[in-house]
Symmetry: C2
DNA sequence: AACAAATAAATTGTCGACAATCTTATTATT
DNA sequence: AATAATAAGATTGTCGACAATTTATTTGTT
């Protein structure tokens, strides 16, 4: 999962990563309460480190906390999804534009050949790709923007929330191949140093995947 | 200062607000170390609450922390400023567009009349306005976007960082009146429900104020 | 004197206990 | 029986102490 390599040096780090994974992957269900004592016995650490982990999750918008009451995992709503993808569209659209300006040729070539390497697998067997491949792609472009604050924002917060939505709505399905083609076009625009086009294509790309998820969400109710 | 009313219910909240203010206002200088014991004696609370406050500041990108070493106030750089305003441009541009779609008429009128009320003071005496007035303006438009995640992002993190830059670079000066006129035009676009124009104007407005600050920053070195 | 190793000091990370607050259950009153 | 007041239970917030790690100082060796 982690391209942005996060090493857990402290015990609190480890607990934070574990908790985040369990929530994002849906093993701890949305809306459920996070009891400090319960979690501290479960992970065999003190309440203090659980507390710190929960605080960090709150900063990521993965849990909500009320003073003297406790923390709950956020509940997924279609409004929340829309809001999240609006933000992604704005930020990653910008990232694509900046990447067209700033991304080193070496990184662009690397990304380009990475995509080519996936081509056969994607076109023939329709499996895979959506999860790790998509995330990897987006992350590389964010890094290519060379805006450090943007990198932090997305890799600390937004991506995990977005993944939580996708995972819990059971994202598979037929979007795989068209997404691949969109990726190809975006990289081409970046390689041509056409920031304007790169932004437009990236925004479209995110809109599509938003619609894809929104359909599933409306089917669930 | 706080339009987004933040009530300190817990002791940790209060410490967090105090610390943030001291840093943003420059009483604790950029780049300086934050000792947990030192601060706990200063604010007369336990180390645990100081720790929690520092963790929150870290989540806001106001301090940086290394495990087993400690936390330092971030250092202001021209690159950091550029990055921050790039993000603001994207997010607040979007907010202006969304506000043109979603902001209730009542709120628009309220904002409009607020600006008119400031007109005389701004045009005659060239003083004031930049600080609280500008922040209030931007915040109202963010709220008008009705994107909750966006509101959280900006009012928890970005605005305080942006303010830190402005305060510590001694923002006063002749930008006051032109900023006022820009605000007027943005509100007009929103009132006309012209999202496209509102976004363009907002982006320009932020670019201008970025340039204004960047000049000061380059003069300092 | 210069460098390396060992020791000491200081700082952060973790823990268990107590205090304050909220939630639930019980009792009292109408 | 229904509602309000009170008490009991459970959960979070805060604290001081100890452990682990880093940094500074001292000591030892060449």
């Amino acid at each position: 999962m982690n391209f942005f390599q996060e090493k857990a040096v402290t015990s609190s780090d480890k607990t934070f990563f574990q908790l985040r994974e369990e929530i994002v992957e849906g093993h701890i269900s949305a809306g459920s309460k996070l009891s400090e004592v319960e979690l501290s016995t479960k992970y065999e650490v003190s309440r203090a480190v659980v507390r710190e982990a929960i605080n960090r999750l709150e900063a990521c918008n993965i849990v909500e906390r009320k003073a003297n009451v406790g923390a709950r995992v956020v509940t997924l709503t279609s409004e929340g999804l829309l809001e999240l993808y609006q933000i992604r569209e704005a930020l990653e659209g910008m990232a694509a534009r900046l990447a067209a300006q700033n991304m080193p040729d070496a990184e662009i070539n690397q990304l380009s050949s990475l995509l080519k390497g996936q081509q056969d697998e994607v076109k023939q067997r329709n499996v895979y790709y959506q999860e790790a491949g998509d995330l990897d792609f987006h992350y590389r472009i964010i890094v290519g923007s060379q805006n450090q604050q943007l990198i932090t924002m997305l890799s600390n917060g937004i991506y995990h929330l977005a993944r939580m939505y996708r995972v819990q709505l059971g994202m598979t399905g037929p979007r795989v191949t068209t997404a691949y083609d969109e990726h190809i076009h975006i990289v081409r625009a970046i390689a041509n140093r056409d920031g304007e086009l790169a932004e437009i294509l990236m925004r479209r790309h995110i809109q599509y995947s938003k619609n894809n998820i929104a359909v599933k969400l409306s089917n669930m109710k």
